[in-house]
């Protein structure tokens, strides 16, 4: 099952550093699933904008690869994938 890790303020928001859920499908639906699972945390609104796109300062990495380079929200998640979701706060 894929493991989803949250860093810094998203770990605070979700109340979890990681989560393992049964899921196979696109990242967009994963976000919907997480939003339902994290009921009341406003998760989807925190990481996506009005157009439904991932906000500029939010990164979603699947096995270390930024989904912006691998199909965006249509990128697929498979068993054993590691997904890291974070807001870029620490500078470059």
């Amino acid at each position: 099952m894929p493991e989803i890790k949250f860093l810094s303020n998203l770990a605070d928001l979700t109340g979890k550093k990681s989560l393992i859920i049964e899921y196979n499908g696109e990242i967009s639906s994963l976000i919907d699933d997480l939003d339902t699972k994290l009921d009341g945390k406003d998760f989807k609104n925190t990481i996506t904008n009005d157009k439904g796109q991932v906000k500029d300062f939010v990164k979603i990495l699947v096995n270390g690869n930024d989904i912006r380079g691998t199909g965006g929200l249509s990128s697929t998640v498979k068993n054993d994938d590691e997904i890291v979701i974070f807001q870029t706060l620490a500078g470059g």
């Binding site: 860093l7 810094s8 303020n9 998203l10 770990a11 928001l13 550093k17 925190t46 906000k55 500029d56 300062f57 990164k59 990495l61 270390g64 974070f86 807001q87 870029t88 706060l89 620490a90 500078g91 470059g92």
Partner: protein, 312 residues
């Protein structure tokens, strides 16, 4: 125009990229902003022709130029933007009074820093040359706090923003302050593709005027600037931004001799570390005319933060 920027919240990009802040006026309509994880990633984008202008620390720019990239630094922005952080169990520079003594505590361990070739990576590799310390390069600096917390690394090097995250998330602290890491280091400047200087000098001129205004705004009115930055970024409070601003409050758009000298002081270290294939001269890196016209007179890097009245 395509502009590359980093997630470092004291860069003027956070003020300029929001049209509601009105710094750029009509230029806003013609700009695409792209976020990069580190300076070396931005250099790759310059190489591929994906960006025309970037907010970037000088060492990766120097490496790019030495490999044939035609780039010029046309303005400054901030100095001394590298800090070392760890958890509370280690002594800090304030306790030991020597950078070497502080670093000796980490002998035999791993230290985390952003990508190889970033200014932070270069500074720490230069400082640990006679110590048995391994450098772990993280794809994003945001991985460093968790890695310290999990024990994968015992300390981290990065921006003042990293120090704020570390202090909030894992109760960590600054081990070596910015000034002791590499005095006056050119943590970022405005770098353009050399062709742009001939093709679009008006764009550079207008952009740098806005950049200079934004530097002055952050230096003179940090609270107001922090509010705009927190609003732009979302998910953080104004105090987070203010804490970050205060760790190294040295904001100015000018390129004084101290900035250039500190940048050139990287050359021997970059060569020794194998990052620079040949020597480069300051004329290869800097184009001073634009910013000298916009910001004549002494720089403000050492002017106290929030000192609006002193400017008058």
């Amino acid at each position: 125009m395509n502009i590359g920027y980093l997630s470092t919240i004291y860069h003027t990009s956070f003020l300029l990229k929001n049209p509601e802040n009105s710094f750029l006026g009509e230029l806003d309509d013609n700009i695409n902003w792209t976020l990069f994880s580190t300076g070396p990633a931005m250099i790759e984008a310059f190489k591929l022709g994906e960006i025309d202008l970037g907010y970037i620390g000088l060492p990766p720019v120097m490496m790019g130029i030495s490999k044939g990239l035609k780039l010029k630094c046309v303005a400054g922005g901030h100095v001394e933007g590298t800090v070392m952080v760890s958890n509370d169990s280690f002594c800090s520079f304030d306790d030991l009074g020597s950078v070497h003594e502080v670093l000796k505590q980490f002998d035999g361990g791993n230290i985390g820093t952003p990508a190889q070739g970033s200014i932070h990576d270069v500074i720490i590799r230069d400082l640990i040359q006679d110590l048995d310390i391994s450098i772990i390069n993280c794809p994003w600096a945001d991985f460093i706090p968790g890695a310290i917390d999990d024990g994968e690394i015992i300390a981290g090097i990065g921006t003042p923003s990293l120090a704020t995250v570390v202090s909030r998330e894992i109760n960590g602290k600054i081990i070596i302050p910015t000034k002791q890491m590499w005095p006056y280091n050119p943590s970022y400047g405005i770098v353009v593709r050399e062709k742009l200087i001939k093709q679009a000098p008006e764009f550079i001129q207008t952009f740098l005027k806005a950049h200079e205004s934004a530097c002055n705004f952050t230096r003179n009115q940090p609270q107001e600037s922090a509010q705009l930055v927190a609003c732009e970024l979302g998910g953080i409070d104004v105090d987070f931004v203010m804490e970050t601003f205060q760790i190294s409050p040295k904001y100015c758009a000018s390129l004084p001799e101290e900035y250039i000298k500190s940048a050139m002081d990287f050359v021997p270290s970059l060569r020794k570390l194998g990052y620079l294939e040949k020597n480069i001269k300051k004329e290869d890196i800097f184009q001073l005319e634009f910013i000298q016209g916009i910001h004549p007179g002494p720089s403000h890097y050492d002017q106290p933060h929030g000192s609006h009245d002193l400017e008058k």
